[in-house]
Symmetry: C2
Amino acid sequence: MMSDAELESLNLRVVRIVYQTYTRFQNCLDEILAVQGLTTERYFVLLAIKNHGDTARITDIARWAERSTNSVSMIVDRMVKDGLLRRARDRRDRRAVNVSITRKAEDLLTPANIASVEFIRKIMSPLSSDDAHTIIGLFTRLNYRLLEHHNPGADIDGILKDDSDLHDRLIKKMAEQRTLTTA
Amino acid sequence: MMSDAELESLNLRVVRIVYQTYTRFQNCLDEILAVQGLTTERYFVLLAIKNHGDTARITDIARWAERSTNSVSMIVDRMVKDGLLRRARDRRDRRAVNVSITRKAEDLLTPANIASVEFIRKIMSPLSSDDAHTIIGLFTRLNYRLLEHHNPGADIDGILKDDSDLHDRLIKKMAEQRTLTTA
């Protein structure tokens, strides 16, 4: 049995190494995307819209990026100003605003996808596919607990299923895009 | 053997689940710290200073938080304005500015530490100590690769050893503080 102090020390080591790895990953990705004229934040917004079917609402982007609609609104405003996104009224719900990706952003997105996939492959190369599945399994359990904490009484399995469906759709789109690019 | 497409899909699933878990963790921690009148960002700055021995330079804080000195400078400015930090010239290096924690911040830090350790324990409870060690091992390998990518030719083992020493010092300080609080 571990003492309370040992358990706490182990927990904090996990949080610290995940924080460091995540932050260093994001810093490297920022540098890679800067070469393509994007930030990680903007890249994620473009991926979210792409994933949603070429046009998306602020709430769709916020959900995918796990950000508040307020902070996504601010990023989207700046991206519209810089000619990366275009606004359009939703045909079915006239209060909602859809955003779509401009040609200019599309031209940045393809090399950004290639560079980020290449970078991720390089960073992940020391891990076997069993290791990757181990991380997915352990983090899914942590995710479950976080969702329970944040949404008491909610259907957590349903939320995780939606997450996973959304993600599968993105992977498929990225693969299709690559096929189009290399064809 | 996995095809390129399968490997890429697996890599992206790992990145996605780590991103989601990390972001959800940070969102929950933000809410918990808001009750204490802190943000996660400010809490990390206070921890970094505490860890460094009650006073620290901007570069020390930036290093610990894996942030740029510019962004840390801006956070520190606002924290000084809000009475959470105090500036003082370094006695040995007159160009450097040290910051230290005020009584007001100290009073926020103790309940923030208790609340965040409690939250971390709750989220980590589904994992065994073997699981925790597995995460530490796998993420240390990813960290190694990220450091190699970012600092070609550097002494990565040295950097990882420094990280680990810094972290051990913080754990010890947090435990000491708790003993003082509960005594």
